[in-house]
Symmetry: D2
């Protein structure tokens, strides 16, 4: 029974993650993500209207053709967490495969939304949706078992996936950080990770985004405290306050909600995606909204809410809005352009609790957004953010816990994978025999 | 009675701060600092052996010649805080002036050390040393009163100096941040700052280093929490741990000491300057060392301590060492070169709780230090640090509290001053009539 | 008779240059430019449809209100060269002033186009258009004479303007470089510049964009030779070649045309603005197009030309197209999107003979353009370009030639002006008394 | 007969290049270089006094242990060009191998100097030194033939080495650029490169330093013209002029010499290494010094020359000095510190015809050097330089000419190799089967 690692997306770029593990005649797919900036550069591209083939040609979703040409029997599509670069291509690709989609409860709800109510509206995917909680294991076939291990990342209910095969365990750790004081949920299940290491990990597929950063990524608690400092450390009593953060970042939103209550301001969460993620987080029990917090959708609802805020007085509210990357259609950009009932006035606070995703398109959008906010006199406050990705020292610890026989750095081009190789080499792993640099579409057979 | 602002150092560069205020026939000097990198670039320069004139020619200390040529009667030398770029030239220049040096208790002790025991050894300066606590005021002459206002910075007992003149108040705010949760001492005395604003501030001399950063500088509490994350979030039970931070940063050292106790490790503070600053901080009551912490000087004492640590086991100690900028003579560099009893071993932790001061010489020194540490297998952990300098949003608040009639951005060249001008202009101050760009030696007469 | 320098645009930003010189009761305006990126950030802004007041509020054109409120009698609007950041606001602002617009022949033709055929179509400006060649002088009034001095820049027939007043000469040197081997036209008129210095320059208004670059800007000949290397040094016989450069850069276009002939390829210049500038350059005698070069306009003409090229074979042509900044509507972007008859094919050469103007919007547009070109297999060749702006060593020489009594660095915010101040200070000029940092709207009275 | 590529240096770093090709029982070594910055970080390290083992432990020279442990019979040490990162470890390592050292005439002379008169003084290496000119081929054994192909780089007589084996050709192209208008020597032998491609290249070992630069590296002619612009385009008649460039860059020195003559200044080449390289270049016929140029060694000779220059007048001379990287012991640094008879005076020109090698130590040294020059009033003119390394478009052409069956990017860590992989992948080569990412010590067996 031979085992093959088939990298299909996320090895030539940051985005559209997808890796297939073939074990004998069976296969498991890990993630099916999109590469958002490849869609954005085609200004008029609407993902719903493009075929999978067109999107593949644009480099926006993974090329899954090898699965068919190899004649693989796919037993499951496993989604480790709910970010779009890991699950955004499901509604274009998953339907081809007669197998379930497996994820944690929060992630499964996002998959449902994606498939049924969201972009794939009207479409009926044949895949069964199966919930697997962290700490649980399920059988995929006679030979294959899937286990989810609790891990921390910038979205709740993230899981490291462990595929138990007759030859040993294959670990898919894409994405993660090691946060011992997360704002929601428990810290990583170190005991189980060490346990997997003892059982024998034959392959680790790991993100490598932060492998070159010589530090440990700061805990979400640090971001929370920085945000507190921005909210309580400046004069803002008589002014409007808008906080913009990732709508999928429930822990951050929890912090904002709590701080709003503490400030005596009513928190209003605005925007369609803010509503979606937050609503699901509440439903699956990860978030309990303080009773005074209002969760408002997009479109007319958000417009009505902003009118009400203006009537009551900006200083009674804390607005949480989408649009921190300067997306032209997001609420914050619309506010900056004066298209809503809520004008930007001198000394209003706009707090960015998010970094700029490093892509020229985002940089340009943020430049436009900030220029407009500044011209209207807003106070812009940046920096209350920490990464969701492990830095070098966390990767080192993961390697020590798992001691994998083979390593596949993932989630970036070779220039990024190189940082991970350097780390692993310093601890004795050998390039090409034990640690493998990959590109999309270049298979590798495990020597086990 | 005319008033003149006479910038003598720190307006063409970052470093060697010195500003004189002339009020009629009297004058007050604020700060007498050095520009360290100008000494370093002359490899064999020993400050003690160089005359004031030579140091001035090197651009290392301010050129105070205008004071003599203008025939000013200097009533006091005021030192706002104890960093060398604000007080390091005292022992070369202060003796010329028949006037007291005034500072807070902690700073006065540093001045004493500088003048008597330190670099100026053997030298007897005629200046009286006068302690003025924050919250207190003293008379300098019939017309002039000096007040110290409590402020936060990266060294304890920092003060904003307010000079009360018959025409109004002149505020010297160089350096500061607005930290509402400092680890040592109280938060800034906002009430008094607002009070000064109401009395009428005719001139504000303010640092401008962070005026271009669109944020609020994080509180020292954030650095403390990041440091905790680096100490408690990684596997280090069986390894050596060295933390390197600014020896003058008593709050940071306090945090390290407390974390060491919590980890069950004995904290040993090593190095001559570490001893000096910490000892003074204890003496003036700003720091109470946990009873198990050991404060060791440099030279033989530190060598003996390291031998003892090796005998007892590295894993029982947390070493706090000077040398985070890679200074070749500092303890950390000596450890990295294998010149001490304490070898760097595989997986020892070296935690830098300090940023690299942005100067090519520091960058190179750090490169050498880190290369050597890495080659010996050390884990390098960077980032547990926050700046001591106000960012744009804090400057905005200071302007709002003081509403000065005239503003002089300080502590940087024109290219940096420009950031402050942009901020002030957005709130209505006019260039040249109200906000003044300066260079060393270019006087400006206040229109009051 | 007092003299005042009134900076109205280009002192808080790079762009919308405009400076007024008041001499007693009379005034002369130098330049009326736009700040393009302020228009671009308002996606749907169409300059033609916006009023001057709206454009001023957006920061896109200078605020000329002080001219009215000071009751100035404007004798002339002087335009030193034909770039839009120096003349693009004429059609919005010039009509208010009952005075001629004065420029060199090439520039006057551009002004005509701007006012009559271009964006101001249908509009009739009352201003007389007067041609003044470099080397010539004309009377503006009893007291004022205007002289144009030959200078080099990245557009032909650039002039340094010298305003002769009863108190001395005022020099407007915005923009220039010192190119001794320009591809079109003579080198700077050093003799006359030295002559002005001897007559007595009371004020120099100078661009400062490159004042921080410790070099001499390379001659246009260098760009020409680099371009030759890109065209003759790579295998391109059987492939399409597109060169993109500034349509206003006639010297560069001349080089391309000559190289095309040498390669045996027919050169086709495409795009509306390419046609406009090139046509005018030919008309005023600065350019003689090799007989085989074809100058095609935009729209249908360019489409027809591309069809013909495809019919005859790409390898017989060298296409010169607009769009090097990635402007979405420009020809090169349309080609990259596959909207023209000319497809991008594997190994086609796209040569950028232009730098990216440092603004996030341009960076993003170029990223989109290059991504698409790359995805289709184009070979992208960057770098055949030199700046049109003087570097530090040229500014030093200009200061030596003119020895102005007063200096006003222009064409950038204070942070940039600071570089020029540093240079001037090193040669003895004193800040505030002789060298003046400025912001838009902040007048300064000359002490003469 | 199997073939193995054994990378020993230059695959984890930039520097200490060394690659071994094993063909059956025989082997050929290509290059034996040093990594200079690993020596510099050990301040007191003197290469002559350190053993090979110590230098290997420092990472300063390649670890050649695998050659012994594999029991390889080394037939030749081939040195492609005379830079120290390719031949600086010869005197520590070559003696172990009973085989000749083969290089072009210029390079052989440098090897001799290195072994006999230079650092290895007193040492007698047993290796025979064999001259092979470009265009020539020699037999290494029954199965192996070595051919040198003319190529361009930043040192004269650079060769691409082709090893003819029974299975096909192995090409070692480390370092090169494709310069069609070099200042010395002919352009690359394209015909022969294409010929090798037709014969069948089974492996290409290629530098990859510039593989990420989307351009063609400019010809040496461009650097020459920029230098001319710096010498003839600025006012320098009455001032001292120092040009600093690489002493090994004979083409650049030729240009300086010619320009000096043209300016009517006597050119004096100063410094020990300047003398060494230039003298050899003259001896092997690559350079004919204009009769008025004076080639002076280091130490006392250079001091005497500088005294004479001061006596005759600086304005009669053009000084060419070592020290462009700010090396503290080089002549230019000594001049800047005032340790020579030649003082730096106001407005003296110091022209850097060299980039800063990107390493924090060089950046710091240059900072110190430039600070001192500036403080004494020198005019610093940077930028007259072009790289000696191929950019992306040249690598593309090389791939097209050779169409190698296997590719090994070299001369940099994986993060750099990745740029080359991206290029090769775009033209159809497949990672791991055809293009191989490498680290020092990780062998790879060719599938041929």
């Amino acid at each position: 029974m031979d085992i093959e690692v088939i990298p299909l997306g996320g090895y030539n770029e940051v985005g559209r993650n997808m890796t297939v593990i073939r074990v004998g005649g069976e296969a498991v797919i890990f993630d099916m993500g999109i590469r958002l900036d490849r869609i954005i550069i085609h200004e008029d591209a609407v993902m719903e209207k493009l075929s999978a083939e067109e999107l593949q040609r644009m480099g926006a979703i993974p090329n899954d053709e090898p699965i068919a040409s190899l004649g693989l029997k796919v037993k499951a599509i496993v989604v480790g967490h709910g970010h779009l670069d890991h699950m955004g291509a499901l509604f274009k690709l998953a339907g081809k495969y007669k197998c379930p989609i497996i994820a944690t409860p929060f992630t499964i709800e996002l998959v449902k939304d994606e498939l049924n109510m969201g972009k794939g509206r009207g479409q009926r995917l044949p895949n069964q949706l199966i919930v697997l909680k962290t700490g649980q294991t399920m059988e995929l076939s006679k030979d294959l078992k899937l286990e989810f291990v609790r891990i921390t990342h910038s979205i709740v209910q993230s899981a490291i996936a462990a595929l138990h095969t007759p030859k040993g365990v294959i670990v898919y750790a894409n994405d993660f950080k090691l946060d011992n004081t997360p704002v929601i949920g428990g810290k990583p299940d170190y005991e189980r990770l060490r346990g997997l290491g003892e059982e024998g990990v034959i392959a680790l597929i790991s993100e490598c985004l932060g492998a070159g950063e010589e530090t440990k990524t700061s805990s979400e608690t640090i971001a929370r405290d920085m945000l507190r400092d921005h909210l309580f450390g400046l004069e803002n009593e008589r002014h409007g306050i808008i906080v913009s953060t990732f709508s999928s970042h429930t822990a951050r939103i929890k912090s904002v909600c709590e701080f709003g209550a503490e400030m005596g301001r009513k928190v209003v969460l605005l925007g369609r995606s803010m509503e979606k993620y937050t609503d699901i987080a509440v439903r699956v029990g990860e978030l309990k909204l303080p009773k005074d917090v209002e969760l408002v959708g997009g479109g007319r609802d958000s417009e009505a809410a902003l009118r009400r805020i203006m009537r009551d007085g900006k200083d009674k509210y804390l607005v949480v809005a989408t649009g921190h990357q300067g997306e032209p259609d997001a609420l914050l950009s619309r506010i900056a352009r004066g298209e809503t009932a809520y004008p930007v006035e001198k000394d209003d606070h706009v707090i960015f609790s998010a970094g700029v995703i490093p892509n020229p398109l985002n940089v340009a959008n943020r430049y436009v957004l900030e220029s407009k906010l500044r011209m209207q006199g807003a106070r812009i406050i940046k920096g209350a953010h920490v990464s969701g990705h492990a830095s070098r020292e966390e990767h080192r610890e993961m390697l020590a816990m798992l001691s994998p026989a083979n390593i596949y750095p993932s989630h970036g081009p070779i220039s990024m994978q190189g940082n991970y190789v350097d780390l692993a080499e310093a601890h004795g792993w050998k390039l090409n025999s034990q640690i493998h640099v990959s590109q999309n579409g270049i298979h590798h057979t495990l020597k086990v």
